[in-house]
Amino acid sequence: MKFSFASVLSNALGGNAAWPAQWRSPEPKASYDAVIVGAGGHGLATAYYMAKERGLTNVAVIEKGWLGGGNTGRNTTIIRSNYLWEESEAIYEHAMGLWQELSTELNYNVMYSARGVMMLAHDRHDVETFKRHVHANRLAGIDNEWISAGEAKAFCPPLDVSPTLRFPVVGAALQRCGGVARHDAVAWGYARAASAMGVDIVQNCAVTGIRRDPSGAVAGVETSKGFIGAKKVGVVAAGHTSTVMAMAGVRMPLESYPLQALVSEPVKPFMPCVVMSNKIHAYMSQSDKGELVIGAGTDAYTSYSQRGALHISEHTLEAICELFPAVRRLRMLRNWGGIVDVTPDRSPIIGRTPVAGLFVNCGWGTGGFKATPGSGHVFAHTLATGEPHPIAAPFSLDRFRTGRLIDEAAAAAVAH
């Protein structure tokens, strides 16, 4: 059923009894042309574009829990494309283009909202680095501008820019087309559209092994629901990618860390945009529901537990209170963590692996939500053709051997 105001209206009149399930819940078939491991936003988007653009519908997305329950449903949904290097600019900008039309494309309101993402500079070093960023972005034709502290205040009135702050705001880089979207809707929208085209989304089904044929190539995956054959397997398992890849004997240059976020109790509109400060480790926006959505840095130690240490959120909230003194009496409502897969250069890994038929899309770490449509789109190409998409080519696994790194570490200190 197509979603529209008309369908909402006519269903309302019918007591909302006719809405169909948004996706099918099939049992897995014995084999597929391709299996995608992980029904997060990236995995589901991959399946969607494979079906939509390549006509490949004999595809399954295998999910150990519930779709969208990984980092896709845990992140703070910041979307921006003002990364430093040309390669990153290309992929995030590709995603940015897709975001603008995503609701219409999926016939699902993913609530992409270009509210503007402002990154604060607090000292001369920040200013020089940010300006370099702004210039690099402008050279590449990407929206990013430098604004003064006064302009930052005008753009986000509750922000404190007084020079007496411990780390005064001395300016900011602003990407106006950056913003936020509704994370769950992204997963659900892709799932609904992919399922409608014939993709099987199998939830509650953990991949427990990767079977290889005598030549060493991939033959399928062992799962908690039995063996599922596939000549092509794409692993899109975020924080658990290294454990899944280890099932095929591939050691990944990834470290998995808990990353925390929290929301406040809902309040009437307070801040209009997204504000980030790398220097004092905090960022904040306000959701459509009215909650202030606040993010922290990663915990200090690697772990697979989806929770974080108390002092990390304390540290983040100290910074938030510095920037937004009005929030101190507001309360934290929920605090949670996700496991993020971090690469040495803070850029993703998309493409082939040493095992024939095994592909991987991971390493998005603390900032991959924004890339969801772009990541799925280029990875669908890779899975369909066996060749990297031109935009994905620089993000090969091989770059850690050759040294052709795409180092976004500085941009990604609190990279969301």
């Binding site: 169909p20 050279l139 702050l165 459509d288 009215g290 101190r328 507001l330 605090n335 040294g403």
Partner: protein, 993 residues
């Protein structure tokens, strides 16, 4: 309307009748008593309408008597102290309290937004995902702003919160959460055994259900028992009872987060008192005795003001001596109803009917409690009334419909253990058939549960279970356990939680989640659309995501979903509870780390001298450093820095470099360790010598640089950059602990123990000689370039001297313990001035290092290799060191990689700025033509133009060519000449001059 009349009982309760308190709600003045919450005081005044709901703006009343309250959220305070979303049921009354209702316009009784109810069929679960998509641009401009304005409950403060918060760290053997009967017993057992015990209670009174119900323990009233226990614990040296302290989270390694409300309940907080205190409690054992939460029942319009949890009704009657209504209907499906009936009757509240669906139960319980009322075997189908309950419609087993007039419906679907804290570390609740509820499942190490939280709902079980848990915890920790106790209490009625469904004859909306306005219709719709897992249901409908985190709605939603799915509730997994258990003020979590105390501002020992000299400071990491020292008519940084550079190049200057990271490295293997930690061979250094030191990361990228001096065969002093000090410290420690654990080496960070100054210029030796013990020989023969050694100042104070140069001039770095730093700096400034020089700051230092092509943080940005920076000559060929393996990756050796060059402006006045990008002359400003960027810049009075360092593709090959440095933001576009990094005195002849 009932307001104006008092609903306070003539006697009883834990309220102080001799301490009346004035308060206001929505501008109307009322009176309450000390011991009241805002909720009980409102009820005492007959105020039953307390708020409006989130989506439909339905009128709402008070449902609960504790932190599970979903409805009665109010705004307290004003301006900077304005505090939204506060539960009236936990806000302790004080004289002058002023509260306002939220999310209504123009008034609470008449809320125009209530028209939303008319559109309810359109506004079902997830409606916004299905519409507002066309045209795309309307989302942000029209639809979203509308949604946003409608959403959100309260209003955030208007200004900085003037109150203070603090964080403390507590350590104990046994932490007991909840001072109900189980918690009190546990704390008594642990404390009497000698364990260091902390008992925390979120309420302002200890006792839990003991103060809400009429109970007796060994012949003593429940409240009295609690009071006596609290007094006993308070008298023990090893125990503490913290009331008004909510334990909100369990964390790894036995850490628990709690927040104590210190002055929220005071009309006039003492000056200097903190408002709230975050307690990070580290406990060897934790006993969760957090009680249970009563479940509401589903029926039509079950959200009307006057529908209240039965346990809350009893709490208002017994603890606050307030009658929440005059004529009540009790609707319950468990035997706990007997207490409710008895308490209502005792308080003189007329019980109009007792409704219970279980065969024979209503009649049996009514008879047992001796309350004269109509017993109906059936269910309530709908609450009547709008702004307040006026009656209950019900259907009995025979299918007959009843209408009973009443202003209070006391409901109970049984109790669910409060298992939240047991799940924060990943534990999953487990279904307990005997109580019909999820109870704590596998527990994290060191945690136990007792009482109702463990699913033991009876008072006797709570006391014995709590006692046993406390004794076991103490025994585990080596304390002799106290003897078991068998208290005498009146027997309890089992209160198994129900999965009662909505009666088919129900009319009106049936609410599952009151605060987020989620109805059974929404649950059905979500399920129909495939959101069949509790987590999906939660996200699609927002069930359980309100500020009460689904404390009362969770079980109801799960039961509804299970019924629709045709499954048992036990087959479903409840959604994960996240910390915090109850919302915690952000200010409390930030604690005292606000304003200037956000992070310490580090000041070098001679800071005060620089202040006296009128220096202008600049932040550098945590440090405040002198940027320049303006003199006479010098009007700004440019003039001052120019003069400072000239002074150094012509005579002598002194710069405070105390901020450098400083490390003492000692031990038999110190040389071997440093050889591994640094990329260049520093271990081979002879005693009495100092050398440049380069640190790499594991991936071969430059990490920091500094110096290594060998003072004795087994003793080195190492410096790092100022901002990089903490990272260098971590790096050294990590390498020592993880990579070289067998080496005999110790590393001490002595950054703040030593003051250090650089003295540079042709007259530097004369300057340094003036402050040193005259016996110390600073002749070039005795103390040549790169010498290092221990010395004494003229007054005999210890010092260290290094002959190092950053500026390219003859230079010395002299260090002395921090307490003599200011004096030494003063002496050095005087010495330099006498010789025609002066102090110089960071700006001049930077200009001189650019003139010399020395790299710093702006070039060592984590993306550059030694080769890129022209430092490969330092990298050792033979030894192993951190970063060695990765350094030789093919791409890193590509000569086309951006590498370090110097730049100078062709036009003397054309400013080159940092961050500018470099393009060939005539090339368009786009990514394809981008050749690199300017890392740092300054004005060189020596060369008479603007100079810079840059990282440029094919750097070496471009030396001698011209490039444009373009900074479009401010329109800078400077033509510059590419030169070797060292633009000034490339041969280094001045080092010895």
């Amino acid at each position: 309307m009932t307001a104006g009349r008092s609903f306070r009982l003539a006697s009883g309760g834990l309220v102080a009748r001799d301490a009346p308190l004035r308060f206001s709600f929505d501008g109307a003045d009322y009176e309450g008593l000390a011991g009241d919450t805002l909720a009980s005081a409102l009820l005492a005044n007959g105020v039953r309408l307390a708020g409006r709901s989130f989506k439909y703006h339905r009128p709402r009343g008070i449902v609960a008597a504790g932190s599970e309250e979903p409805n009665a959220l109010v705004e307290l305070g004003a301006v900077g102290r304005r505090e939204p979303d506060t539960r009236a049921t936990t806000a302790e009354l004080f004289d002058g309290l002023s509260a306002r209702s939220q999310n209504r316009w123009p008034s609470l009784r008449f809320d125009a937004m209530a028209v939303n109810s008319l559109f309810a069929p359109l506004l079902g679960a997830g409606f916004y995902y299905k519409t507002f998509m066309w045209p795309a641009s309307f989302w942000e401009r029209l639809y979203e702003p509308l949604i946003r304005r409608a959403a959100g409950l309260g209003r955030i403060a208007e200004a900085r919160d003037p109150d203070r918060y603090e964080t403390v760290h507590d350590h104990c053997d046994v932490l007991v959460v909840g001072a109900g009967p189980a918690g009190i017993a546990a704390a008594l057992a642990a404390a009497r055994a000698g364990a260091k015990t902390i008992l925390v209670e979120e309420d302002f009174v200890a006792g839990g259900r003991l103060v809400a119900d009429r109970r007796e323990i060994d012949g003593v009233g429940g409240a009295e028992f609690a009071r006596a226990a609290q007094a006993e614990l308070a008298g023990l040296p090893n125990a503490r009872v913290l009331v008004r302290t909510a334990l909100f989270g369990a964390y790894d390694h036995g850490e628990y987060g709690a927040v104590e409300r210190v002055t929220d309940h005071l009309a006039d907080p003492p000056p200097f008192a903190v408002r709230q205190r975050l307690r990070r409690i580290f406990a060897k054992r934790c006993i969760v005795a957090a009680g249970a939460i009563e479940r509401p029942l589903p029926f039509g319009d079950n959200d009307r003001p006057g529908v209240m949890l039965a346990g809350a009704v009893r709490a208002y009657l017994n603890r606050y001596a307030v009658t929440p209504g005059t004529r009540a209907v009790v609707f319950a499906d468990n035997d706990d109803a007997a207490r409710t009936l008895a308490d209502l009757a005792l308080a003189g509240v007329e019980v109009a009917a007792h409704v219970d669906p279980r065969p024979g139960a209503a009649a049996r319980l009514t008879a047992a409690s001796g309350v004269a009322t109509r017993a109906i075997e059936g269910v309530v189908t709908r609450a009547l009334g709008r702004l307040a309950v006026t009656g209950a419609a019900s259907v009995d087993a025979a299918g007959a419909a009843w209408r009973v007039d009443c202003d209070l419906i006391a409901v109970s679907g049984g109790w669910t253990p409060s298992a939240h804290l047991t799940t924060h570390l990943g534990g999953k609740p487990a279904w307990r058939e005997d109580i019909g509820a999820f109870a704590p499942g596998a527990l994290p190490p060191g945690m136990a549960v007792a009482g109702a939280a463990a699913g033991d709902f009876g008072l006797a079980d709570a006391l014995t279970g709590g006692w046993a848990a406390g004794a076991r915890a103490a025994q585990d920790l080596g304390f002799a356990p106290p003897p078991p106790r068998e208290p005498k209490v009146d027997p309890d009625a089992p209160a198994r939680a129900s999965t009662l469904r909505v009666h088919p004859g129900a009319r009106g909306k049936v609410f599952v989640d009151l605060q987020n306005d989620v109805t059974t219709g929404d649950v059905a719709l979500a399920r129909r659309e495939g959101f069949r897992r509790p987590e999906h249901l939660k996200r699609y409908t927002t069930l359980g995501m309100a500020t009460d985190q689904g404390k009362t709605s969770g079980p109801l939603g799960l039961a509804e979903l299970a019924a629709l799915e045709g499954r048992e509730v036990s087959d479903l997994a409840p959604t994960t509870w996240r910390p915090p258990f109850t919302p915690v003020a952000i200010g409390a979590l930030a604690g005292a780390h606000v304003g200037p105390d956000l992070q310490p501002t580090r000041l070098p020992p001679a800071h005060a001298v620089a202040v006296e000299m009128g220096a202008v400071f600049v932040p550098a990491g945590p440090w405040l450093r002198a940027q320049y020292y303006p003199q006479g008519a010098e009007s700004g940084w440019l003039e001052a820095a120019d003069a400072e550079v000239r002074a150094v190049r012509a005579a002598a200057g002194v710069c405070d470099v105390s901020t450098l990271g400083k490390f003492e490295v000692a031990g038999a293997d110190a040389a071997a360790f440093l050889d591994f930690a640094f990329a260049n061979p520093v271990g081979a250094l002879a005693p009495g010598r100092v050398r440049y030191g380069l640190l790499l990361r594991d991936d071969g990228m430059a990490m920091d640089d500094g110096t290594v001096a060998r003072l004795a065969p087994h003793r080195f002093v190492v410096t790092s950059s100022s901002v990089g000090g903490p990272a260098a410290h971590l790096h050294f420690d990590f390498q020592r602990q993880a990579r070289k654990p067998d080496l005999d080496v110790r590393i001490e960070n002595v950054t703040s123990q030593w003051a250090q100054f650089s003295v540079a210029g042709p007259r530097a030796r004369d300057a340094i000689a003036r402050v040193l013990d005259p016996a110390f020989d600073v002749s070039d023969a005795a103390f040549p370039y790169l010498a290092a050694g221990e010395a004494r100042l003229a007054g005999g104070e210890p010092a260290r001297l290094f002959r190092l140069s950053y500026s390219g001039e003859r230079a010395y770095e002299i260090a002395t313990p921090a307490q003599w730093g200011a004096g030494l700096f003063r002496a050095l400034v005087a010495a330099c001035e006498e010789l025609g020089g002066r102090a110089y700051g960071l700006e001049a230092l930077n200009v001189m290092r650019i003139e010399k092509g020395h790299v710093a943080g702006s070039e060592i940005d984590g993306r550059t290799t030694p080769r890129d920076l022209g430092l490969d000559k330092f990298v050792a060929k033979k030894k192993d060191f951190v970063g060695r393996a990765m350094l030789s990756r093919p791409t890193l050796l590509d000569p086309a990689r951006p590498s370090l060059v110097g730049l100078r402006s062709v036009e003397p006045d054309a400013r080159i700025v940092a961050g500018a990008h470099l393009l060939a002359e005539g090339a368009p400003f786009d990514a394809r033509h981008d050749l690199g960027h300017v890392t740092t810049f300054g004005h060189s009075p020596t060369l008479g133009r603007w100079i810079a360092l840059a990282l440029v593709k094919d750097g070496a090959a471009r030396i001698g060519t011209r490039l444009r440095a373009v900074e479009p933001l401010r329109g800078h576009d400077a033509l510059c000449e590419v030169v070797a990094p060292a633009q000034f005195d490339p041969e280094g002849s001045r080092l010895h001059g």
